[in-house]
Each structure stands twice: as C-alpha cells, then as structure tokens.
C-alpha cells in the first residue's frame, strides 16, 4: 500500500480560502481531545485559546502588536524566497536595524529633540538592516558563497554585537551597570494608536509594506523579474534581467524590512536596547512567509495564525494552567494541519493497494 498524489485541476478560489479554516477545525478537534483526556473542559480551552483573544479590544490589539514584526519581516523575506534566495538571517538584520536606528534616540537623549528623531531612526534602521543583508548577497554575487550559511552565521554575530554594545559603550550610565541603554524619550518612541492598549504607529508601516509588496509583485516589471528569476533562472537571463542586480536588490529589500521591523519594535514596544530584543521573530517569519505562500495577503494570514497560537498558548497557561510544552506541541500540530490542508487543496491523495515497481 502506498500514497499517490494526484494533482487537482481547477481548484476553486473558495477552496483555497476554506482549507486553512478546515485545518484549524481539525487542529481544534485534536487539541480538544487531548485537553479532554487531561480532564479539562475542551469548551473552556477553545474559549481561552481562540475566542478570547479575538473578542476583546485588548486581545485584538495584542494580536496586532505580535503580528507586526512578523508581517514586516515575512513580506521582506518573500522577495528573497520568490527569487529562490535563501535569506535565513532576518533575525540578524532585525538586530542590525534596531542597532543602527537606535543610534539617533541614544545620541539625542536629554535634548528633547522632537518627533523627527523617530523618523530618522526608522530610516537609519531600514538602511542598517539592508546593509547587513547585503553582506551575504555581496558574497554570493562576487564569490559564489552560499547565502544560507553566511546569512545564518551573521545572525549570531549581530546578536553578540548588540550584546557588546549594551554591556559596554551604550550602557545606561545611571543603570547600575546593568546591560541596557537608557529608555528612549517619549518623543523618540512611536506614538500609540489607541488610548488603552499597545498598538502603535508601526502598524501603519506594516500595512504600507503589505500593499506595496502586493503592488510590486502584481504590477511591476521588477516584481516580475524576481518571480521569473526564482522560477526559471534561464528564462530570466534571456529576458534580460541582471541576475546579480536582482540578488542584491532582493536582499536589500528583505534586510531593509527586517531592519525596519527591528527599529519599529525597539521604538514602538520595548523603548530601549537590551541584550535580547527579539524572541526569534526573524526565524518565525520564515514559517510565516511560507504559510502565506509568499503572498502578502497570505502572509497576513500566516502571521495571524502564529500570533494567535502564541497568545492563545499563553492564555491557556494562565487561565487553564496547561504546561507551556503542551501549548507548543499544539502550535506545531496546528501549523502542520494548515500546511497539510493547503497541500491537499492542490493534490488529491489516493491510496494505492498494490505497489508498482
């Protein structure tokens, strides 16, 4: 006996939309069974995990805050991944952007400089991330060095660099020598969008990034070039696209958006530099990008699923006292269900009884 995949022809659009929902229902059934076996109420778990975060302003804002860096990074990564470039160093570019951008609020601290500080910080942060991403891109273009390895290794280098800065030169002089910078002045932080809650102006940037990416891929020659160079490199060359230039630009865009995410997180959420400024957003964004099939709208969905499982998992720990590891496993199961459903929309699985050679 074996499985055989049969490609489905003309999959209706609604099926692609409904499949992930079906997957979530399947995951809920699996999770509910486990919760019931543990002697807890599956209904309560469902409420705490999926309903509460989505039914209150607080929960929705937190969801958006959590999605924000993931969306920015993943949208950027879609440029690389669509061109078949393996940038797995977004985490490092995130840190590089945060460091480059934070120079402004730190240099102007105590000067009551005004809101231009945060604008300049965002620009510098984007540039910092882009430049850091250009290192692996440049090594690939000039020497043919694999970008998978270099981009990943540079993550660790960036993290250690940040660590050195906040323990050494950038340390808050009044902070009892603890590893952290000063807390940025209010003028150097992104404004909040709502009175109660933590949703900040960075959300606007994420929306712009999503729309711009959608426009670039669907309407511009450059977006077309990226797609062709990923799907059919030879055709791209015949069509006159400069492969090296595309590599550099894709990495710069990707790193720039990761860097922007970094400085947005620092000026909008954390308010200072610390040894650790990301719970692995740069890596999580990779799964977000692929969950969303590298499409900007899909990426919104991917970030939504991931963020919901993180927040739901936390709620389950707090309100139901379920262990973290259990919620982590459920997150994995849910993601796998979504991926399987997505694949099964495109292909039908047939069970074949007798094996052919």
């Amino acid at each position: 006996m074996r499985l055989e995949l049969v490609p489905r022809t003309d999959v209706p659009g609604y099926a692609r939309t409904l499949a992930p929902l079906g997957a979530i229902v399947a995951a809920i059934l699996i999770g509910g069974l486990v919760v019931a076996l543990l002697g807890r109420s599956p209904a309560a778990a469902l409420d705490v995990y999926f309903v509460q975060p989505l039914s209150e302003s607080w929960g929705l804002q937190e969801l958006a805050v959590k999605m924000l860096p993931l969306v920015l990074i993943a949208v950027g990564l879609s440029f690389c991944f669509r061109a078949n470039l393996w940038n797995i160093g977004a985490e490092g570019q995130f840190v590089a952007g945060a460091v480059a951008g934070a120079m402004v609020p730190l240099a102007t601290h105590g000067m009551e400089a005004g809101p231009w500080v945060v604008v300049v910080a965002l620009v510098l942060g984007t540039l910092g991330g882009a430049l850091y991403a250009l290192i692996p891109a440049f090594l690939r273009v000039t020497l043919g060095v694999s970008e998978i390895l270099t981009s990943l290794m540079l993550v660790y280098v960036a993290q250690l660099g940040l660590d050195w800065l906040v323990r050494g030169p950038w340390r808050d002089p009044k902070g009892f020598n603890f590893p952290q910078t000063v807390v940025f002045e209010p003028g150097a932080q992104l404004p909040m969008l709502m009175e109660a809650g933590r949703l900040h102006a960075g959300a606007g940037l994420a929306v712009i990034a999503v729309l711009a990416t959608w426009f670039i891929f669907s309407r511009t020659l450059f977006g077309f070039g990226i797609r062709v160079s990923g799907e059919a490199p030879k055709a791209a060359r015949f069509a006159g696209f400069d492969a090296n230039r595309l590599v550099l630009i894709a990495f710069a865009v990707s790193g720039g958006l990761a860097g922007l995410a970094g400085i947005v997180e620092v000026t909008g959420q954390i308010g200072q530099l610390k040894p650790s400024i990301s719970p692995g957003y740069g890596f999580t964004a990779i799964i977000v990008a692929f969950l969303g099939r590298l499409h900007p709208v899909g990426i919104l969905f991917g970030a939504f699923v991931i963020s919901l499982t993180v927040i739901g998992g936390e709620n389950a720990q707090i309100l139901l006292k379920l262990p973290l590891d259990l919620t982590t496993v459920f997150q994995g199961v849910l993601l796998m269900c979504v991926l399987a459903a997505d694949a099964l929309v495109s292909n039908r699985v047939r069970i074949v009884r007798t094996a052919r050679a």
């Binding site: 323990r167 050494g168 807390v183 109660a196 954390i270 200072q272 040894p275 309100l319």
Partner: protein, 356 residues
C-alpha cells in the same frame, strides 16, 4: 458600540471595580519566569518558592505561572496576569523591569514584585539575594582546597551581580591563600549545558583544580567531577550531579520571602520596598559542606556564621581594585549596597578585563 462597551469593561476591570466574584475568593498570585521551570536552576528555584506559597496557605491562594517568557516580549504576559485577577505578580528576571513598570502604571491596584531590579513604584517592590555572601564562603573553601592555586570561574555575562560574585569569591580565597589565581571564562549564555561544560574543560586543561560557576546548568560541576576535581553547585543543591566533586552549593531560597509577601497581601499590609538579604535571612543558603577535610569545613562554617551575624562583610574596606588603588568606601566600614549592586570593577589579583 460593543467594542466601546468592552473597552469600558476592560478599563473598569483595570481599576479593580469589576470582577467582584473573584475578589472575595482566593488571592490569585502570578509568576513570570524567564526560563522553563525544568531548568533546575534560576526559574526552578522560583517555582519552588511558588509551591511553598501554595503549601503555606492552603485554600486561600491560587498561583499561576508563565514560563520561558522572552524578555523582549513580556508586557503581554504580565498584563494578562493583571487582567485576569492576579493581585500579586512576581516577575523574576532583571529583563522584566521596564515591562513590569509599564504594566504596573496601568494597574494601580495590582501589586508587583520584581526580582533583581532597581526601579520601584508605589505598587512595584524589588527584591534580590545577596548571593555574593555565599560566594565569599566558597572562595574561602577554594583557597584552602586548591593545590595548583588556579581556580576556574565560568561566568554567564559580566553584569554587576556576576562581577560582585567573582570579587567576593576572590576576596574569600585571598583571605586564606594569598597566591590564589582566578581564571574567568564567559560563556555568554545563562544556559547551554554543552558550552558551559566545554568552558569548564578549558579551565581544567589550563590547570584549574577547582571550578565555580555562575551559569545555570550542572554541566561544569559534572566536568569537574569527571576530571576528579572539585566544584560548587549553583542555585540549588546539585550534589547528585557530583557526589564526589561538589564542595557545597549556593541555594537560592525564595520560599520564605514569597510566603512572607503573600501573608502581607492577605493581611492587607503589603507595601513597596527594596529587600536585599542573604545568608542571615535564609534567602541564600549553603548546601552541606562535603568532600573536604574537617578543618576546611570548620572554617567554612565559621565564615558562614560570621557573615550571618554581621561580624564579617565580604566587601569590608579597604577593597583594592585591579591596579591596587583603594576603592572609595561608601558604606559603614564596607562597600555600600549601591556600590555592590552596580559593581563594575575587579578586585586586585583577578586577571581579566571587564568590558567598559
């Protein structure tokens, strides 16, 4: 409209007006841990403290914890505890300082306790342990026990707490052995058993015959044991990881403090404060002195007792820095607490450079 109602509801909850049903029931206490409860180190010990609360007030309290909370994304978890009726919240790592203060400002009727920080508010207290006292005792033992006069020190990060620990250790060692040397390796991680073990191996290969550590896993201790050398346990009694190698261990015992603060909450007497106590109050404890001759054990017990009674201060003046210059003495005959809390220099005899 519904959104506005919900928002108003949330605000009312924030002000402590709503949820009357929950308020009269058990006191809900929340904990935020930086690591997994199973790290057998820092977070594990805090969780032992949480369990002690449950044991001390059966039926009166309900405790909740969130583990492995990333320091960069902790606001939400802390706030969710506050939103869900937890009235006393312990945030147990330095990196939670700013998030704790931010959330505390929004929830004035919820009391917060932040470990190892220095910023307080009306509803934010701080607490920590004088772990360097235990390190002084370890230094005395190590100074007596070493044959090569080289002691290996595996540090996590050069933060003041770790630096003060190294200095106290060195001063203790020097008090019994003027020729002792301390070699330091920074693992640049609190928890990576493999790397911590490798750091210990490197120190052993460079002649150290006693290993001490300020990282969380038992790996350095195990390596010392495997090499037939001695070492000290960290955060909890780790004797089962090195029955022949552990000399003693510093035990972080948060239980008495947590129980005391819970009682204060139940009696309505909770107030913000800054508490930093050590061996005397039992927040820092020494595991049994093992694998050493009787005279060393006696000396260790005497040193511990002297610190407990206040006869001995690990940082009694004069303290000389690396260049042999006398450090300004801001306390009474010893360095002041702020000086120790922000310690950013090595004492004389330590052969390493601090990042400036």
């Amino acid at each position: 409209m519904r959104h506005i109602l919900k928002l108003a509801g949330a605000l009312a909850l924030a002000a402590g007006l709503a949820a009357p049903a929950a308020a009269q029931e058990k006191l809900k206490i929340g904990f935020i841990y930086v690591g997994p409860v199973g790290d057998h180190g820092w977070s594990y010990q805090h969780d032992q403290g949480r369990k002690a609360i449950e044991a001390a007030f059966p039926g009166k309290v309900e405790t909740t914890y969130v583990e492995s909370v990333p320091e960069a994304d902790s606001d939400r978890s802390i706030e969710q505890l506050a939103r869900t009726g937890h009235k006393l919240i312990f945030t147990t790592s330095f990196g939670f300082m700013e998030p704790t203060l931010k959330v505390a400002a929004k929830y004035p009727n919820v009391m917060f306790e932040h470990a190892t920080g220095y910023k307080r508010a009306k509803n934010v207290a701080t607490y920590s342990g004088r772990f360097h006292e235990g390190r002084y005792v370890q230094g005395v033992i190590a100074g007596k026990m070493t044959k090569s006069n080289i002691i290996g020190y595996v540090g996590a990060y050069p933060i003041p707490e770790v630096v003060a620990g190294i200095n106290a250790f060195m001063l203790g060692a020097q008090s019994v052995n003027p020729n002792v040397k301390v070699k330091i390796v920074w693992a640049n991680t609190w928890f990576d058993p493999g790397k911590e073990g490798d750091a210990a191996k490197a120190l052993l290969a460079q002649g150290a015959d006693i290993i001490t550590q300020h990282t969380d896993s038992p790996a350095p201790l195990q390596q010392a044991e495997a090499a037939g050398k001695f070492a000290f346990g960290q955060a909890s009694d780790m004797i089962r990881f090195a029955p022949k190698g552990q000399l003693t261990a510093i035990i972080d015992d948060w239980a008495p403090y947590y129980v005391e603060r819970t009682r204060a909450m139940l009696e309505g007497k909770w107030q913000s404060h800054d508490v930093w106590d050590g061996l005397a109050k039992g927040k820092v404890k020494m595991a049994p002195y093992t694998n050493m001759p009787d005279d060393v054990k006696k000396l260790a017990l005497e040193t511990e007792e002297a610190i407990k009674t206040g006869k001995l201060d690990p940082f009694k003046c004069p303290v000389l820095d690396q260049d042999g210059k006398q450090v300004e003495c801001k306390g009474k005959g010893a360095l002041s607490d702020p000086q120790i809390l922000s310690m950013n220099f090595y004492v004389k005899g330590i052969d390493d450079k601090l990042p400036k």
